[in-house]
Amino acid sequence: MANCKYEWPAAGDRRLIGKSISRIDGPAKSSGRAKYSLDINLPGMLFAKSVNCPYAHVRIKSIDTSAAEKMPGVKAVRVIMGVGKEVQWAGDQVAAVSAVSEEIAEDAARAVKVEYEQLPFLVNEADFDKDKTAGRTRQAAELKVGDPDKAFSDPDVVTHEGHYGIPVITHCCLEPHGHVTEWMGPQSLRTFSSTQGVSAMPAQFAEALNIPANNVQTICRYIGGGFGSKFQMDAWGLASAQMAKDAGKPVKYLLERAEELETAGCRPSGFARVKVGAKKDGTLVAWESDCWGTGGPTPSGVLPIPYVLDIPNRIRRHTFILANIGPARAWRAPNHPQAALLTMTPIDDLAAKLNMDPLQLLMKNADLASEGRGKVYREELQKVAEMSEWSKYWHPRGDKTPGHIKRGLGVSIHTWGGRGHAGNCLVTIQPDGSVTAELGSQDLGTGTRTVIAIVAAETLGLPVEAIRVKIGDSHYPFDGPSGGSTTVGGVSASTRRAAVDARDQLFAAVAPGLGVPADQLEAVDGKIQAKGDASKSLTWKQACRKLGVKTVQAHGKNPGQCMLGSSGVGGAMVADVSVDTETGLVKINRMAVAQDCGLIIDMKTAESQCYGAMIMGICYSLFEEKIMDNITGRMLNPNMEFYKLAGIGDIGELKVHMMTGPGYDERGVIGLGEPPVISPGAAISNAVANAIGVRVPTLPVTPEKVLAALAKGGMA
């Protein structure tokens, strides 16, 4: 890493990297000027609406679109699921219509007549025996390490057995899935897509429409939430382009709220019978789990349990349940929140059985974490204990203070990879001094634009505002999709390499005039100057003017030379809750997280990821559930009234600490979007157990479940 020209500046030389910098697209967003795909209005544009199947599992017997086609204002109708096709979940798009207004399109969609043949369905999977009876189970591979049977049979080993679970939830992106499509010529398409993968979208349209991929341009300047669910063109994307072609007009086809919740992705559930054993001193030695869950009609999501801690003797069996619900899509940290809950809650129960402080138990076992990350976890647990005043507020299970309000603390740890994805950046320096960084990337709200600007500005010795970042267009150099916390590592590395090369080209152009060898120049404070001799300097503008009519352009790639990023982060989170034992209501008092992610580019947006993740975690811990009806097979809460999200008064006080400095910074840039959303479920569940003395075995922790747990009493 040493002596590589691309390496990150040393700590003392960083003017911008690691500082708290406001996102550069903040004004566009807060003023409402930012145009999302849902906001795109094109001349003559048509509005598309879906014909949604109201049944969970049916075969299509007939479709009659004639009445819809005849309606004034209707310009195109497309069947998405033809006769004979099997619909696998309620709400799925069977057909679509395009019309001159949203209202007419809706009328027309309702005028499409579809006949269905009913097929057997399963929509609730929590009861494993019922799943089995229904023939909906599919065994996944078993994983066995060591000798769990022997370890459990050791008389010195204390074991705990329990049942735990976390239901299917949805992404509930505020901007629904979809696209505006416009044909620019007979073989040439432009799409305004709400997507996490701008560069990858054209190929999907091209293949489906049988046109050259280079003839498709995808634009996504802003996206109203994705969380892992927006990588695909989807049936509605194709139908949009087809109807746009049929009608000869652009078509806007983004989903309605109900179909967004019913069909545009779910996070698979996870239920498990867990047995975990430790020596009396708390050393974890054995694990056994039988886990099941569903992510829709096809197998998805083997949960990596035991999570983080590689207990030496362990066996896990996983069974997929095939259910008729909207399909699994990556949901921020796929499989990890479920795995954290199914691991950290039984371990917490075991700690209670051992009369141990669970935070101490995690400390003790931290070296079971892979890649030698035990030391980091201990540092993070120590930090989060301070932040949450653990020693002051934690108590053995069951708050003994009189009254019906019981307070408790819970802890969990988590991990994620987050290596930067492959991608390209093009940095251009114009003779007038203006600088652009172009990438076929996208900013999901994580601060991607800002990170690119900071890296380029740091490298070129310019203020952040001097960099024009162009992303969100597939005409820019190919960049990876934004999933799995891979974006920040990818774009920061490619931008760094491009900016260093562009800067060096500029150095070469001005070196002769300054009488200084190019490798003795530096770019700082808006100047190009001789290292250690400010008398030999040019302002940025003067320097660029020396380019004459030449423009400096440099491509940066990731991966590439120099270790600019790596993989593997951790974090520790504590939840502090109060539970009303008469009503079962859980109130968040405080949440705290200590999180590492290597070298932080922008402290402000990094912290925002943690704050946001904790809030999202509160939502799925206390409120969220895709509620399915056994009789009709439909989702009962496909709206935001009963698909509940926390509001501004429901989150308590939040504390974030980013682990930085020696031991962290030299790891380079690592992603952060996923990790802090993993632990809240386990931390909150553990806090509730600490407060009331009994385990509420499944999320969300609703009043109903708290009261049931209290009524049952004793350890679950």
């Binding site: 209202e103 809706e106 009328d107 008469e582 009503t583 079962g584 209501l585 206390l622 409120f623 509620i627 399915m628 009806d629 056994n630 009789i631 009709t632 439909r634 009962l636 809460n637 709206n639 009234e641 009963f642 509940k644 926390a646 509001g647 501004i648 008064g649 429901d650 609703t702 009043p703 109903e704 009261l707 049931a708």
Partner: protein, 327 residues
């Protein structure tokens, strides 16, 4: 949303003349937050919508020595800001403050609040008010976690959605209804009923009547409070609610009104709880006993047993709040 005709009369008489004599043909538009949502869900599909917004005398609050008269088109925000209400009817303020959305308070009217349609998810998904599917109700064997625990012998299982009706009933309020045959005044309690047929509504308003006024008698010497058990601090529906009005004779309850919300297809007065309170000095134990009495006849469904406990607690806490000085 289906297409509809829109009418915006300027007088009550005109409004009434624009309404059809049977349900389903016309709907009255007040604040719109519920009706427009309902129409978007196709749970209501009127051919004509009659807006009351231009009828100026439906708006405003008048206070006399003996009563408060609230025009049905008075917004929740206007109610919250009214000095007479603040001074003489603090539990009404408390109730309105549970509507945790400034937007809804600005748009929503008290008349609309009382007559909003149930939130039962089967109703909103299009299975009708009685949630009928293949000739029987979906609720008993379906997901009934938010459904009724009282007055639920069928065929209606939804809960009355109004957040303000319980306290108004407890205060002995009346509503004025005007129709083609003239005006009538009935208690708020009598405004509601449990429908027995799919084409019946959950209230006793005639299809061509409008609710014009809410009349609240002066609450002299009364202590009152509203308590909602709700998951969220932010805008949310209560899981259960209780409204209590206690008339005191020194330390003793001389007369009590206890009305539960979100537990039955109608706001649910509890004579059992009232009897428990009357003649007693309120204590934690007495309140607890009243709470128990309030749910003594509860018949929870397969998934909503927890609401019995919540209702019990809501009643107890509302009583304690009222006794300690009230809202």
């Amino acid at each position: 949303m289906e297409r509809f005709e829109y009418a915006n009369p300027t007088s009550r008489k005109e409004a009434i003349s624009l309404l059809a004599a049977e349900w389903g043909q016309t709907e009255v538009l007040a604040g719109g937050t519920d009706l427009v949502s309902c129409m978007k869900d196709f749970a209501c599909t009127p051919k004509r919508v009659v807006s009351l917004k231009r009828i100026s005398d439906l708006r405003g609050i008048r206070s006399s020595g003996k009563e408060l008269r609230i025009g049905s088109m008075t917004t929740i925000r206007e109610l919250l800001e009214d000095q007479h209400v603040k001074q003489g009817y603090p539990a009404l303020i408390q109730s309105a403050e549970y509507i945790r959305s400034e937007q809804l308070r600005n748009m929503g009217t008290i008349g609309g609040e009382l007559l909003q349609r149930p939130r039962c998810w089967y109703f909103r998904l299009g299975y009708g008010l009685l949630a009928q599917y293949n000739g029987k109700s979906l609720v008993p064997d379906g997901d009934n976690r938010y459904h009724a625990i009282l007055g639920n012998s069928g065929p209606a299982y939804f809960v009355s959605p109004s957040m303000m009706a319980p306290i108004l009933i407890a205060m002995g309020a009346q509503v004025r209804l005007e129709g083609p045959g003239g005006a009538r005044e009935i208690t708020v309690e009598k405004l509601y009923r449990t429908p027995a047929q799919p084409d019946e509504r959950e209230h006793t308003l005639h299809p061509n009547e409008i609710l014009t006024e809410i009349i609240v008698p002066r609450q002299e010497g009364a202590r009152s409070a509203v308590y909602e058990v709700r998951q969220k601090e932010a805008l949310d529906w209560p899981l259960t609610a209780a409204a209590v009005v206690l008339k005191m004779n020194g330390d003793t309850v001389s007369h009590a009104r206890v009305v539960l919300g979100h537990v039955a297809p109608v706001p649910w007065p509890s004579p059992e709880a009232e009897q428990t309170l009357e003649g007693k000095t309120v204590s934690e134990d007495v309140a607890e006993a009243a709470g128990k009495a309030a749910v003594s006849k509860a018949t929870p469904l397969s998934m909503n047993g927890y609401k019995v406990q919540l209702a019990r607690v809501a009643v107890k806490r509302a009583i304690m709040q009222a006794a300690q000085g009230g809202a």
